[in-house]
Amino acid sequence: MVFLPDESRSLPPPPLLNKGSVWLGFTGWLSALLDNAFNPRPVLQAGVHRQILFATVGCFVGYQLVKRAEYKHAKVDRELFEYIRHHPVDFHSA
């Protein structure tokens, strides 16, 4: 199963910082801060390279996941509208 089929590129791409990438980037950063807290290191000031790396990975994964979610939603919408178009009798608004 392909993660992002080719027809997903016909959809408008989500902005780089969307709710998925920002949230997962934040959780990545938070996990770096937790790693600092559990090996006792100063939480915010230590391991900045680690914080940046985890936040980056989170943003990256979030962006790909949001693209896939938008593709899935668009596909379902398309199938819904096709069904409505093929069965007009069931959808006559009175």
Partner: protein, 84 residues
């Protein structure tokens, strides 16, 4: 195979007879305390370079996606409607 077994028995009796001088432990719990005062420059460099590479790839992929979407929109617009 019998000779091998005899050799194992010989070694086993020798180890039992001699007092343990060398203890070759194969424990997984021999670890050094991490020294946070000394930066692990290799790790820092790898982390920064990986982050930079990931951001570059992400921004490039986003721009490619935008261009591809615009291109397909143009293609769809020209094929379905007349050019206005």
């Amino acid at each position: 195979m019998a000779a091998g077994l005899r050799a194992v028995r010989r070694w086993g009796s020798m180890a039992a007879a001699a007092p343990p001088r060398l203890a070759f432990t194969r424990s997984a719990f021999v670890v050094n305390k991490a020294n946070n005062a000394k930066p692990n420059w290799l790790g820092v460099g790898l982390a920064f370079s990986t982050s930079a590479a990931l951001w570059a790839f992400l921004i490039k992929q986003h721009n490619d996606d935008v261009m591809e979407y615009e291109r397909r929109k143009q293609a769809r617009g020209h094929s379905s409607t007349k050019c206005s």
